[in-house]
Structure formats: structure tokens, C-alpha cells
């Protein structure tokens, strides 16, 4: 009897850890698999598409409206007014200073005054915003989008045409054809050269002298410095930081574990992926008019004036446009301490097929 009791207690204790799991399965809770969206497709215009669809459903009565859905032929809003319920404007929209808007669908174009605050705007034509615009969610414009100085663009600012930024603007995602930081306009006319299949391979840092043309790509396990006016006709992979000195040019994709610093008048004609920061000095062009590219920055992004970006820039930890005359970029990066590489430095390099 005592043995049987001991065995019973032993069996119960042995089964105890399995009971919660057995009950979990018996109750048939949590039956669905981990959710994978079968229709997910990455799109820089995703936010705008979703809101457009929502507005279409609201205006046709298919979706509930949070508040009152208002449809107007045109809108003229006076200073310090606010409109926080859903609004569709079929004509043009003008707002004065310090107007506050919720979610707005501008079927015509729009002109926003200074210091406006908006939740989200979708527009089917050009939109121009004054200085110090504050966006809490996103802007999506099927036309030109011009943003005034010292603005905050929220999660995303996308334009199917030119997106123009002024100094002092902060952002997270930018999409434009192209994105232009206001100033001198630069046009890329030469087509991207073909990218080679061979790579220079460096175990440590590599400094490429000025005025060189490398027909191979570069894989560098340290920092890579590309001398002034030098060109790399291939893809570049760098484990440290990448510095393109004044006028340097890369024709292929750029994948960097460290930060990327473009010192000025640089061109990159491939996709860019960096695990740290991206600093772009004046006169630089990323991408080309024929090639919409992707620029992913896991860290911060800083753009100087007179910069042009063709494609989609994602700045995971935010980005900003430098103020005119601001020298913090130079101070932050100590650009003056980066010396020009000499010709003898291109020796510690191997070849990889």
C-alpha cells in the first residue's frame, strides 16, 4: 500500500510539468500559426495607398467614420484654426499660419502656411508647405512636394515627383524622384558604367589615392578611404567606415558596417546599406534619374544643402538637413583630420574572383 502510494505520488509529480501543456492543447487556444501577411509587399507609397483606400471606403459608406467626414470643393483656413475630423477637399487648399489638421485628403493641390501641424496628408497634386511644418504621421503626394525650413516630416514623406527639402528639416523616410536638398540643382547625365565581377580584397583598412580609377569592386575589412576624384567601377563592401573624399565616385552598390561619410561632390550610383550613420556633404548625388535606388541607414542621417537623392531613403534613427552655414558636421566628423591617401598605400590588397 505504501509503495503504491509512493509510486502514485511519483507519477503525479512526474506528470505535473506536462499538465499545463496538455490543458493548453485540449482547450485548443492559440490555434493559428504565427501571422505571415501573404499580401505584404514593400512600397514607399504604402501609407498613402492605405489612407486613400480608407477614404474611398468612408466616402462610399463602406467604412465607419471617426467623427464626421466632410467633403468640400475647396478649403481656405484662417490662422490658428483647426480641423481634426476626416476631410476631403476636391479643389485647392490653402491654410494660413498655425493651422492644425488631422487626416486630410487633398484631391487638388495645396499650399500650407508656416507652422502648420498635421497628422497625415495625402494629395493628388502638388503640395507646398511653409516653414516649421510639423507632421506626426506622414505625407504622401502624387506630384511635387516642397517643404519649408525647420520642418519635421514624421514617419514618411513621399512624392511621386520632386521632393524638395530646406535646411533644418528632420525626417525618417524620404521618397522622391528625386529628393533635393534646396540649393544649387545638380543633374547626373552620364549613365552608370557596368560593374565588374572582380574585387580588390583588403584584410585591414585601405586608402585609395586620388585620381584613381579602379575597375574592380572593393571588399575591405577595415575602414576604406577613397581619394579625391577617384572612381570605383564596382560594388563596395566595407567593415569599418567608408570615406569618399571630395569628388570620389562609386558606380556600384555600397554595403557598410560602419558609417558612410561623403565629403562633398560625391556620386554613388548603386544601392546603399549602412549599419551606422550616413553623412552627405554638399554637391553629392545618390542614384541617377534613370535609376531609383534604395538607401537604408540603420543609424542617423545628416544631409548638407545641395544634395540630390534619387529613390527611397530610410533613416532608422532619424535624419536631418543641416542649417545653412552650420559647421557641426565638420566638427562632428573632424573632416579636416582625414588626410589624402598616397599612391603607396594601395599595396596591401589581394584579388578575389
Amino acid at each position: 500500500m505504501r509503495t503504491a502510494l509512493i509510486l502514485l505520488v511519483f507519477a503525479l509529480l512526474l506528470a505535473l510539468p506536462f499538465l499545463p501543456g496538455l490543458l493548453f492543447m485540449r482547450r485548443r487556444r492559440d490555434e493559428l500559426p504565427l501571422h505571415v501577411d501573404p499580401e505584404y509587399s514593400r512600397d514607399p507609397l504604402f501609407f498613402g495607398e492605405e489612407l486613400r483606400q480608407k477614404y474611398q471606403e468612408m466616402s462610399s459608406g463602406l467604412a465607419a467614420v471617426n467623427g464626421t467626414l466632410t467633403q468640400q470643393d475647396r478649403a481656405d483656413m484662417s490662422a490658428q484654426s483647426e480641423w481634426l475630423t476626416p476631410l476631403i477637399v476636391s479643389g485647392t487648399t490653402r491654410t494660413a499660419e498655425q493651422v492644425q489638421l488631422g487626416e486630410v485628403y487633398l484631391r487638388g493641390g495645396g499650399l500650407l502656411g508656416n507652422e502648420n501641424k498635421v497628422g497625415a496628408i495625402i494629395a493628388d497634386h502638388d503640395l507646398r508647405a511653409g516653414d516649421r511644418l510639423q507632421v506626426s504621421r506622414f505625407l504622401d503626394v502624387r506630384g511635387q512636394l516642397i517643404i519649408g525650413a525647420d520642418s519635421n516630416l514624421g514617419v514618411s514623406a513621399a512624392s511621386t515627383a520632386r521632393l524638395t527639402l530646406q535646411p533644418g528639416t528632420v525626417f525618417q523616410r524620404l521618397y522622391g524622384q528625386p529628393v533635393v536638398v534646396e540649393g544649387q540643382t545638380l543633374h547626373l547625365t552620364d549613365p552608370p558604367p557596368s560593374v565588374g565581377d572582380q574585387y580588390l580584397w583588403a584584410r585591414d583598412s585601405l586608402r585609395i589615392p586620388k585620381n584613381q580609377v579602379l575597375t574592380d569592386g572593393v571588399i575591405c575589412h577595415g575602414a576604406l578611404y577613397i581619394g579625391a576624384d577617384s572612381t570605383i567601377l564596382g560594388d563596395v563592401k566595407v567593415y569599418g567606415d567608408l570615406h569618399l573624399l571630395h569628388g570620389a565616385h562609386i558606380s556600384g552598390n555600397v554595403v557598410v558596417r560602419g558609417s558612410i561619410v561623403l565629403h562633398g561632390n560625391n556620386k554613388i550610383q548603386g544601392h546603399v546599406h549602412t549599419e551606422k550613420n550616413l553623412f552627405v556633404a554638399s554637391g553629392s548625388i545618390l542614384g541617377g534619374p534613370q535609376v531609383q535606388l534604395s538607401f537604408y541607414v540603420a543609424g542617423r542621417t545628416v544631409l548638407a544643402p545641395n544634395v540630390m537623392i534619387h529613390g527611397y531613403l530610410v533613416a532608422d534613427r532619424g535624419g536631418r538637413v543641416l542649417q545653412s552655414g552650420e559647421t557641426s558636421l565638420e566638427r562632428e566628423l573632424q573632416l579636416s583630420t582625414v588626410s589624402e591617401p598616397s599612391a603607396a598605400e594601395l599595396s596591401n590588397v589581394g584579388q578575389k574572383g
Binding site: 501543456g21 500559426p33 563592401k237 546599406h273
Partner: protein, 421 residues
Amino acid sequence: MVLALIFLMQTYVTLVTLVIVVYIVRHLWFTLARVMLKQRPSFQDMWRSADWPRVTIVIPMHNEELVAEHALNAMLNVDYPHERLQVIPINDHSSDATMHILNDFAERHPLITPLHRDGGNRGKPSGLNDALALATGDIIVVFDADYEPPRGLVRMLVQAFTDPEVGAVMGRVVPQNPSKNLLTRLLDLERSGGYQVDQQARHALDLIPQYGGTVGGFRRKVMQGLGGFDPRVLAEDTDLTFRLYAAGWKVAYVNRAECYEEAPEDWGVRYRQLRRWARGHNQVMLRRTWAFLSSPYPTKLQKFDGALLLAVYLQPLLILTSLVCCLLLFMLNALPPGLGLTWAAGTIAYSAVGNLAPFYQIGAANVLDGMGSRLLLLPMTIVAFVFNMFAASEGAWQAIQDLVRNRDAQWEKTVRFKEKV
């Protein structure tokens, strides 16, 4: 003689226990790195509107009439530019309606180019080699026949080749049928631990993420440069991973590139699947370890992690044999104090399924996935541990015999459970 045997068994159990401890520390490191460290970004956040490379999707099929239509419809639905896409379903010696289904799709959709194989070796590596000769894509993306990729998956995978060092890419596999029975529940736990924590940590720590043979891709020219797949190896995915690293290439893991799979619902099917994996993986260990460790390209840490990864499917055989030794030593009253307990604690801590993920790794993965209630199932993994120990041990033993007898392994197809369209 008996004393010498006892000493040998004591030494063996001690060594196996030490090896298990090394694996426990390794997986604890992965788990902590996944939970606490900043994750290295992968390539899924990139986007492009043009200049997509030409891609060939290859789907090996052997008697896949139950799933062929699902798979091909999913391929036609992907948002990759169709003018840059080619789909090659491989009808590999099928005797059911697979051939007719493929031909029917090919007639209606010009981007589908079926490859019918009724001669030569049957099996995935041989089929892939034939498909490579037919492929026009710069990038080859492979799906097993029971996989149905979401619309944006191929783009996400292909973006990884922006990195010129990436020779292959791997996405995440998610079981579609976790609540079917205890086995599918356990496989779901295993997949979570294996991908959400293990693969992601190896990617973040710059170690050896593994190309898994499905929901992944590789550069065609690189594969052709390596001489194609070895038809004698059952685990062509592990084989490719280590050949790539030995040649200076890397494997990228994209955690957000998720794709449903059908997990085996029958213990017999699972036993054969795991036995094949273990046999193939150990074949690779026996063939590729030296080339990998002597390559100048991987770092020391990658070599250490790679060596442990190569030996991972040898562990069940080591555990099983050391368990027998433990029992013999116990009966001979020669089990040193503490050793048996350490062995038991080690194996219990290490006990899990498939990828041999410890319970803390599976737990962390489910919490990260927002599936915390599934932690209640964790003690059940002991069932899978015992089951897997036998299946994987048999596979490891077969791999050793393959080497000794210089024999070729036969490919075993995994049975499908999905109902026909």
C-alpha cells in the same frame, strides 16, 4: 580489462558532458545576444523600383500533385517583376499527376518552364544541378513544393545580394499547421527557436547563418563556379553553406522574409525526415570540415561556430551512447559522483528538437514572436528529445556507414498532408 573499460566509459561520458556544456553555453550566448544586443539590420528594409536582377525560382517536386498547384499559384502571385522572373518546377521522376499539372501551368503562363526528369539520379541536388543548366537568372531562389511564399518575399530575399560578399540568403520558415497535433506543436516550437533566435543571432554576431535549402537563394555563377551540388550529399543546403564560407562568401539571414511550410503531422514521416537531415548533415561534417577550417576566409570565431554547427547532428548519437555508458557505469557502481547528475542536467537543458535548441532559446523565441502562451508546451520538448535522439542517431550512424562503405544515399521524399486544390 573491466577496469580499463570502466575508465574508458568514464572518460567518454565526461567528454560528452563537456561537449554538451559547450553547446549549452553557445546557445545561451545566442539567446542573450538575440534578446539583449542591438540586432544587425538585414536587407528587408531596402527597396528598389528597377534594376532588379534576373531571378529563377526553382521548385523540386517528386509526386507533389497535392501541393503543386498551391505552390505555382503562389509563385505567380509574387510581386517580383515578371519580366525578370523565371519559374522552373522540377518534375523529378514523378509517377502521379505532377507532370500534367506543371504542363498545364506552363501552357497558360510563359514564365513557367517545367523541367521533367525521368533519367539520372533522383533527388534534390541532382534536380537542382539540371535546373541550373536551364536557369537564366543571376539569382536562384529555391522553394520546396509545400511552401507558398507571400507576395513580397522574393524581393526581400533578392535584396540581400546587394552585398557583394553574400553568396546565399535564407529566410524564415513558419509552420502553417501548428495546432494539428502534439508533433506539429513541437515542430512549431523548434522552428521558432531555430530561426527567431538561432539564425538571427548567428546573423547578428556575424557567425554562420545556415542556408536551409528552401525559402532561400544563391548566386547562380557562384554555384556553378563551385561545381554545382554534390548529388551524393543529402543535405545539399548545409553543404552549400560550408562550401560558400570556405570560398570566402557569406550567407545572409533575413528574419522578416517569412514563409509558411507544412510541418509533418505523422511521427513516422518526421522520423524519416529527421534521419535524412541527420545523415546528410553528418555527411557534410565528414566531407567539408577540413576544407572549411583550413580556409583563409572565415574568422576564428566563425570557424569555431562552424565546427559546432557541423557537429550538431552528431550530438544525439553521442548522447545516446553516453547514456548507455552512464547506465552501465551505474550498474557497475562506477559512475563518479556528480558526473551522472551533470550529464542528466546537461542533456535536459539541451533537450529539444531538430536544430537542438535548448528550452531557453525556444522560450525566448516564442516571447519575441508574441506567442508567450506557448511556453506552457515547453516541458513537452522532452518527448521530442527522446524521439529525435533515436532518429538523428540512426541518421548519424548511416552517414558514418556511407563513408566507410563508400556508398551513395537514396533520397527520401517527405510525405505531404495538404488536401488537393
